[in-house]
Symmetry: C2
Subunit: 388 residues, 2 copies
Amino acid sequence: MRRVAVLGVGMTKFGVSTKSQVEMFAEAALEAINTSNLKPRDIQAVYVGNVLGDFEEGQMNIAPFCSAELGLPPEVPATRVEGACASGSVAIKEAFMGVAAGFYDIVLAGGTEKATAMGTPLATRTFAMATDSRYEEFTGITFPGVFALLSHLYAREYGIPLAELKEQMAMVAVKNHRHGARNPLAQFQKEITVETVFNSIMIADPLQLYDCCPFSDGAAAVVLAAEGIAAKLVPKPVYILGIGQASAGSLFRQRGLPRLVAREAAAKKAYSMAGLSPEDVHVCELHDCFTIAEIIASEGLGLCEFGRGGEAAMKGETTYGGRVVINPSGGLKAKGHPIGATGAAQVYEIVKQLRGEAGTRQVDGARVGLTDTLGGDASTVVVTLYGI
Amino acid sequence: MRRVAVLGVGMTKFGVSTKSQVEMFAEAALEAINTSNLKPRDIQAVYVGNVLGDFEEGQMNIAPFCSAELGLPPEVPATRVEGACASGSVAIKEAFMGVAAGFYDIVLAGGTEKATAMGTPLATRTFAMATDSRYEEFTGITFPGVFALLSHLYAREYGIPLAELKEQMAMVAVKNHRHGARNPLAQFQKEITVETVFNSIMIADPLQLYDCCPFSDGAAAVVLAAEGIAAKLVPKPVYILGIGQASAGSLFRQRGLPRLVAREAAAKKAYSMAGLSPEDVHVCELHDCFTIAEIIASEGLGLCEFGRGGEAAMKGETTYGGRVVINPSGGLKAKGHPIGATGAAQVYEIVKQLRGEAGTRQVDGARVGLTDTLGGDASTVVVTLYGI
């Protein structure tokens, strides 16, 4: 198995776009290819994460159209993968395997999504199809509902009064908005306060509007290559040190909630493959689709003790100057969440951080980074470790 | 790169089912696992091809639910791939890469689809989303329309009067129904005549009803393993000798129609990897979504001369006693077409044929088999060669 590096990365601005999913993907892909010092014709395979393309703009089977938009020839296989919000990371994982195995030397992977056009209420209901259609979906639950339930479970499990947990959750939102305010590609580049969160409308008790990430339009892409090739092309290749993907069925099948078994299995695999521990991680992009999701993720990844993720946010341990900087990009919360693109956008940020190219968001001395992407109600999780 | 074998295979009856997509997948998967002399816990990764699950039963993100239905633990990554009608074959290709590379020793791959519930007219319109949404779909074209256009192009390109081509196409339907009549899992187990075709309603001139495959419910699955493991588990492993996946954009970007560049690129890769030629193929399951599609495919795969695929069908060269038996299962035409499952069902038939277990459908002396699966308007094509 060969070592695999990330060469160039590319990303559109997240928010509301008038471009199609294919056009956004091409924009991000061309940036990734150009900054790899490559031409499109050097790409040997394409993996695209996309979730709601058929509902958003009547486009399924999107991968070959992304490939054709870049002018790639028929010999280049183009594959769509879908694992709900984790789709972009699943795309990168398949690309990683193709390069590591020697099937391909240079692969393009990423994701694209146009999630704003149908409006948040309809998108929320439509996206609820990522829950189990037989056991969950018919109850009418949506993802704000899933994470609201997890909030209550979390408060009970760790004996934290709900009012206290809500403050911790609000602090996660404040932190990620503060980070996002420094990110020119973020959807929301403005700081908020705890009061902003508490004064916002209730979505699914205890989650208020500012506890929730938005649906966004956007795309992100990365170029992966075998080690020997990477070193010749770019001055600072970022290596994939470990990667783990794991799965779980409906919530009722999952034991130990609010801990999420799929995340913990994925993280264990990634750390083991990399020979690293959570203490080695300097910077992390994790799946904060809701503020409670960041708290649960920071614990499941081993970055905080169980039951102490919110406290860590309150104490500033997960921001600049803390033990590990979580979501320097602003996370899904402030950067935005174009569903299928999110995993690739996380890698975009980690690569910029490890190369020291993150500008005002730079985490000093970042040499090991982690991405964590969660799809559905923790039914698909990918955890990846990157190093320079 | 390790050699990869197919161990067990499984398939539901194709047609109209009251089961969910997940349940159908589990039925096919358990047959594949049992006939591999394995237990579900031996499976290390799962790949599921599925196309319209969100429209059919409100289920996206289906792969982890398929995995959980089999009782697999979180450590097993479950990945959905979607490449329109080629989805099942793309799933098998990803599984093949994972095993060949040594990431996994034993992988389950297949597809599932519940395409009858919405009815053919709506399914046809819905599935048209596999065309290019920017350049094709808005014209109102559906796949019967795409293949009707290809029929006219074909007649003009090779100077065949349309009436003659229609007879050749009808003969393809007659042949595949004759094959399907011997297949207890086929949706249509009845023979037809050329008159049946000519007396059926016009769908998209020149395609009549019996020139078109149905939408079906069904699932199929296969277990892949590394060579050393396979030989210990089953008496007759079937080896993947070569595999090629290729892609193309909208039809207007494709040169040389009615020849399909993605198929020819995929076939070239598969033959080259296997070190085989079309003359070596004894039995073939190819993508006869429409009768003209079989004619075009048989030529693109090198099994017939260009412009002579229909003539070959008329002369009986593509049935029992001919040079190569095409679609002994009945093909999509008679066996049925549960979109995401079709690629895996093709492998089911080829494996049974190469093992000499195809009963009344057995092709004598079959030692090399080929599967060909086409997605969209030839935007995703996978060609695979199998040998015993």
